[in-house]
C-alpha cells in the first residue's frame, strides 16, 4: 500500500497496542489434581471461586469487540468445566482462537472431537513430568500419569496439536533422558518444552522436596543441553534449567571476552508480556500475569478491558520496569554480569523478595556460581 499517503486526521501517538493480542484466562479454580509444586493453589492472592457461564460469555463478547486474537484457557484444570463447549462456542463466535493448559486427565473423545471440529484450537498443553507413572505421579498424584497419556493419545487421535510441558523438579531430574525418549520416540511428539518448579503457591510448602538444589540444577542443565543436541532442537524452554544453561553460557562468554552490553542487558527487561498480553483470574480479576495474581487491575464485565489495558497505573508501571537499571539494586552491587543480565521474571522476583521491581534472585548467575554452581 502507498505508505507515503498522509491521513487527513492526525493519529494519536502510540505507546502500546490499543488492546491485548492474547489473554490467559483461568476459567476455573477447580482441579482434579493437587500437584506438590502447583503455583495456583495455596496462593494467598487467589480467590478460589468460579464464575458462571454467562459472565465468561459476556467477557468473550468484549474480547471480540476489541480484536483479541487468541485466548489460553487455564485453571485449575480447564477441562473440569462442564460448560466448556458453550464457552468455546462463545470464543469462536467472537472470532478468536484458543489453547489450553491442562493435566490431560479429563480429556475424552467427546470434548476432543468437539475441539477438533472447531478448527480454532492452537494446541492443548499437557503436563508430563516423567517417563513412567512412578516418577510423574510422585508430585502429581496416583493415576495422573495414566490420565495424562490417555489425554495425549485422545488428542492425537483427533488431530489436535499437543504441546507437552515437563516441569523439572527433584524427583524427575534423574529421568530427563527417559522423558525425552518417551515423549519424542515412543509418543512421537514433534517436540516438548521444559521449565522447573518455582517457589510459588503449593511449592512454597513443599520446597525442600521439590525445588532443585545447586547440584541438581547443574545436572539438569548439562543433561538438557546434551539432549537438545541429540534430538536436534526438539526440546525447548522459555524458563528453567535449559534457558539458564543457554543464557548463562552467553553471559559468561560475553563477560570473559569483554563484549559490549547486550541490547536488553543492565535493566529489568526480563519480561515483555505486559505489552501484548494480560490475564484473568478464575474469580474475574484482571491481572498482568498469572505469576502476578496479587496485582489486581480491574474486574471483567465491570471495568473496560481496553481502558484497563491502556490506563491502569499498575500495568503501566510494570511496562516501564525495563527502564530500571540493575545498578540501582544493592543485590546487584559489584556484579560483572550486569551488562548482560535482564533481571528475569518479575513474578519470581516478587515471591522471593516482596518486590516486583527487583531482579529475581533465582535467576542470578553470580549467586548460582557463588553457591558452587557451574556453567554447563
Amino acid at each position: 500500500m502507498p505508505a507515503e499517503l498522509k491521513e487527513k486526521t492526525e493519529p494519536t501517538a502510540p505507546k502500546v497496542m490499543r488492546t491485548p493480542r492474547s489473554l490467559v484466562i483461568e476459567i476455573t479454580a477447580r482441579c482434579n489434581l493437587r500437584c506438590r509444586y502447583c503455583y495456583f493453589f495455596n496462593n494467598p492472592a487467589m480467590v478460589y471461586r468460579d464464575l458462571p457461564t454467562g459472565e465468561w460469555l459476556s467477557f468473550f463478547d468484549e474480547l471480540g469487540s476489541l480484536g483479541v486474537m487468541n485466548v489460553t484457557l487455564a485453571g485449575g484444570e480447564p477441562f473440569i468445566r462442564e460448560d466448556l463447549p458453550v464457552l468455546l462456542e462463545g470464543i469462536i463466535r467472537n472470532r478468536m482462537r484458543f489453547a489450553f493448559l491442562s493435566n490431560g486427565a479429563l480429556i475424552d473423545d467427546e470434548i476432543a472431537g468437539f475441539i477438533a471440529s472447531t478448527g480454532r484450537c492452537e494446541y492443548v498443553q499437557v503436563s508430563v513430568d516423567g517417563s513412567c507413572a512412578e516418577v510423574h505421579d510422585s508430585c502429581r498424584g496416583r493415576g495422573s500419569f495414566d490420565g495424562a497419556i490417555r489425554g495425549i493419545r485422545t488428542l492425537q487421535r483427533h488431530g489436535i496439536g499437543v504441546a507437552v510441558r515437563v516441569t523439572i523438579h527433584r524427583n524427575n531430574v534423574h529421568d530427563l533422558e527417559g522423558i525425552a525418549h518417551f515423549l519424542l520416540d515412543e509418543l512421537g511428539l514433534p517436540d516438548f518444552g521444559t521449565n522447573s518448579a518455582g517457589y510459588m503457591g503449593t511449592c512454597r510448602v513443599n520446597a525442600d522436596g521439590v525445588l532443585l538444589n545447586i547440584e541438581e540444577r547443574k545436572k539438569a542443565m548439562a543433561t538438557l543441553l546434551r539432549l537438545t543436541a541429540k534430538y536436534d532442537g526438539r526440546i525447548s524452554a522459555n524458563a528453567g534449567p535449559l534457558t539458564e544453561a543457554r543464557m548463562w553460557r552467553r553471559m559468561e562468554e560475553a563477560r570473559s571476552e569483554g563484549k559490549p552490553a547486550f541490547h536488553n542487558g543492565g535493566r529489568l527487561t526480563g519480561c515483555g508480556c505486559p505489552n501484548n498480553k494480560i490475564s484473568v483470574r478464575a474469580d474475574g480479576a484482571i491481572v498482568p500475569c498469572n505469576m502476578l495474581a496479587h496485582v489486581e487491575l480491574g474486574r471483567i464485565n465491570r471495568d473496560s478491558l481496553a481502558d484497563t489495558w491502556q490506563n491502569s497505573p499498575a500495568l503501566n508501571q510494570l511496562r516501564s520496569r525495563h527502564t530500571i537499571p540493575l545498578t540501582e539494586f544493592e543485590f546487584c552491587a559489584g556484579c560483572s554480569y550486569i551488562p548482560y543480565c535482564t533481571g528475569n521474571c518479575p513474578g519470581l522476583a516478587y515471591v522471593l523478595t516482596g518486590a516486583v521491581d527487583h531482579p529475581s534472585p533465582d535467576a542470578c548467575l553470580r549467586r548460582f556460581l557463588e553457591e558452587d554452581g557451574a556453567i554447563a
Partner: protein, 95 residues
C-alpha cells in the same frame, strides 16, 4: 452468477488497529495474519461487496492527501493479495 470486481471483506477476519500506523488482519480459521498501514485499513473498510475497486480508489483519493499516481495499481494489487489469502472475496452478481 458471475464474479464481479466488487470485493467484500471476509466477515470472519479480524481487523486489529494498533496505536501506531499499522494494523493486522487476522483470520482465526487459518491463523493467517497480515500487517497493513492506514491506507490498507481504509481500503479494508470500503470493501463491502457494493463498491468496485475503482470506487475504492476514488474514495481513497478523497480521504488521503497527495495520492500518488501508482495508487490504483497498488490498491488493486493489495486487494488481489487479500483475495489470494482468503481475506476477501468477490461478490457474485447476476448477468
Amino acid at each position: 452468477m458471475n464474479q464481479t470486481d466488487r470485493p467484500i471483506a471476509n466477515p470472519v477476519v479480524v481487523l486489529r488497529e494498533e496505536f501506531d500506523d499499522w494494523a493486522v488482519l487476522f483470520n482465526p480459521d487459518t491463523a493467517d495474519a497480515m500487517g497493513t498501514n492506514p491506507v490498507g485499513v481504509a481500503v479494508w473498510r470500503l470493501m463491502n461487496g457494493k463498491r468496485s475497486v475503482e470506487d475504492i480508489v476514488s474514495k481513497i483519493g478523497d480521504s488521503f492527501e497527495d495520492t500518488p499516481s501508482a495508487a490504483r495499481e497498488e490498491i488493486t494489487a493489495f486487494v488481489n493479495t487479500l483475495a489470494e489469502h482468503g481475506l476477501v472475496g468477490l461478490e457474485l452478481g447476476r448477468e
